[in-house]
């Protein structure tokens, strides 16, 4: 544990733990909405913000938050308008984002190593200022996702019903888009823009192998995210591996373990109790008007 005597290591760990909690708390709504890959796309857009920040000598994280937020709002507007053309519009935004990022970072004379740090995370780049940004924004994301859980659950579960309930559906959707952008950008330091999406999605996928309800899935996913982030940073510090990759591989490892255990448990239970007759719904006779 000597490694964490270094301040930069401690900052990386605390930052990763906050993100490990906040990312799955947001990700569960994205998974439920079938938008599991949206974080990845917004990460691409955030990279353009990083490039612009480096080029203009402004804080890359701050410019990335702005770029990613604008991108997320654009994506949400496309999604809400229609579904068929949205696919291509998203592709344009994603590829444009990463191409713009690589181009701008190159123009800014920053080294390849610094581009790598933004893409895949780094233990040494979290400055004290970054840590404060991560703490404040991460807490805000977490509080919003927990306090608005019934409303966000309703919107993601059945958007039309939510509208008939009088919920501000558009505002809630925009809130999800903006918090996704914020989460992606604050996670950029430790995990990297290309891998942050995994931390939103994989713990949720792991948790739902074993849970029965939404609330329990959310709690379990947050615990798994916390574990993967903490353990991943520790592995990265001890074995000198890339932090983002270590965090994500640990999250995927937990997924495999939980999936295997859950499958084994189901098989055992089925053997103990013979399966009942399949439920058949008789087709009732109908009254048709002529």
């Amino acid at each position: 544990m000597d490694l964490f005597q270094y301040d930069f290591m401690l900052r990386a760990l605390v930052g990763a733990l906050v993100i490990g909690l906040a990312a799955p708390a947001l990700g569960i709504y994205l998974v439920q909405r079938r938008l599991a890959l949206i974080g990845d796309g917004i990460g691409h857009v955030a990279l353009t913000g990083v490039g612009a920040g480096l080029l203009l000598n402004r804080s890359p994280v701050l410019v990335a938050v702005i770029a990613a937020t604008l991108g997320a709002i654009a994506i949400e507007l496309v999604r809400a308008r229609g579904r068929t053309s949205g696919d291509l519009a998203l592709a344009l935004l994603f590829y444009g984002g990463i191409a713009g990022g690589v181009l701008l970072v190159g123009l800014s004379n920053a080294s390849n190593a610094s581009l790598n740090a933004y893409l895949f995370g780094s233990l040494t780049t979290t400055s004290p200022g970054d840590l404060i940004t991560i703490l404040v924004l991460g807490t805000a994301v977490l509080v919003a996702m927990l306090a608005l859980r019934p409303a966000l659950f309703a919107v993601c579960h059945d958007e039309e019903y939510a509208r008939v309930s009088g919920l501000p559906v558009r505002a809630l959707n925009l809130l999800l888009a903006v918090t996704t952008a914020v989460t992606v950008t604050i996670a950029m330091r430790a995990v990297g823009v290309l891998l942050i999406s995994a931390l939103m999605v994989v713990p949720v996928a792991t948790a739902q192998q074993a849970t029965r309800g939404f609330r329990s899935t959310m709690t379990a996913a947050m615990a798994l995210g916390l574990f993967a982030a903490g353990a991943g940073i520790w592995v990265a510090a001890t074995a000198d591996t890339a932090p983002g990759a270590s965090v994500v591989l640990l999250a995927i490892g937990s997924f495999l373990v939980v999936a295997l255990v859950a499958a084994g448990w189901r098989a055992l239970r089925q053997r103990a109790r013979p399966a009942g007759a399949p439920v058949v719904e008789p087709h009732e006779h109908e009254v048709v008007l002529r």
């Binding site: 079938r34 608005l148 659950f153 029965r212 309800g213 939404f214 008789p282 009254v287 008007l289």
Partner: protein, 254 residues
């Protein structure tokens, strides 16, 4: 007439992509009525109730709910909506009680955490549809009929004055249809108003006070429930003719 009509549709028209689905439809529902919207598939009966709820925009005409123009209507807790089926979502599990608890949002608002009144209303709604013992089960493990009962429980949990149901009994097993009819009878006996779309009335038939038949985008009949004609009147008749002949492709896929 001192109390305003619960639903008032005047000369409403709706079109999808420029193709008219409803034209010049007028409909009034007073408090305490149980109105069934009948008609073959593809005639626009689901569109009619979606327009009443503001889920599809009108191209002409007007809708008023409880005497307020629908655009300015904000008292959504007075309305319980039961859609055709539960969306599958992205596969995140949700328990029956969690889905039904969504029905309290219109009454509780965005930020207030659920309290004892909310939990009691959820439990009462689950009892009304006979699913109290399944409250903690994932909805995905329920049969189609039980999922449909979950949706009516969600609507009832908000203690609405008007229930709007879209094909509540389509593809639902007999036990669930009976439980469904029982829950609806309890709601009507308590003074509730109902607007429902149906292709078949089944055990709901004795509850219906008025029938509206939609045909080719207009209202062809507004009055007592029509008697089944011809061989359809025979309760044992085999129902073999196809339903979907006139249904325009893609109309219901949105």
């Amino acid at each position: 007439m001192n109390t305003p009509l619960v639903i008032q549709v005047e000369h409403a028209a709706v079109g999808y992509d420029g193709r008219p689905v409803l034209r010049d439809v007028s409909l009034a529902v007073a408090a305490g009525e149980v109105v069934a919207v009948l008609g073959a598939n593809g005639t626009g009966k689901s569109t009619l109730i979606r327009a009443v709820l503001g889920l599809v925009p009108l191209s002409a005409g007007s809708v008023a709910l409880f005497g307020t123009p629908q655009r300015r209507f904000r008292q959504w807790h007075r309305i319980g909506y039961v859609p055709q089926r539960l969306g599958a979502g992205g596969g995140v599990p949700a328990t029956v009680a969690e889905v039904v608890a969504s029905g309290r949002l219109a009454r509780r608002g965005l930020l207030r955490p659920p309290g004892r009144a909310d939990r009691e209303a959820v439990a009462a709604a689950l009892r009304a549809v006979g699913l109290a013992d399944r409250a903690g089960d994932p909805v995905a493990t329920l049969s189609g009929g039980q999922q449909q009962r979950t949706l009516i429980a969600r609507a009832l949990a908000g203690r609405p004055e008007l229930l709007v149901l879209d094909e509540p009994t389509a593809g639902v097993d007999a036990a669930s249809q009976a439980a469904f009819a029982g829950a609806l009878r309890g709601f009507v006996d308590g003074g509730g108003t109902v607007l429902l779309v149906a292709h078949e009335l089944g055990p709901l038939r004795p509850l219906i006070s008025r029938a509206v038949v939609v045909h080719e985008g207009g209202i062809a009949h507004d009055g007592p429930v029509p008697e089944p004609a011809g061989h359809h009147a025979d309760p044992d008749h085999e129902h073999v003719h196809p339903h979907c002949d006139e249904e325009p492709a893609g109309l219901w896929s949105m």
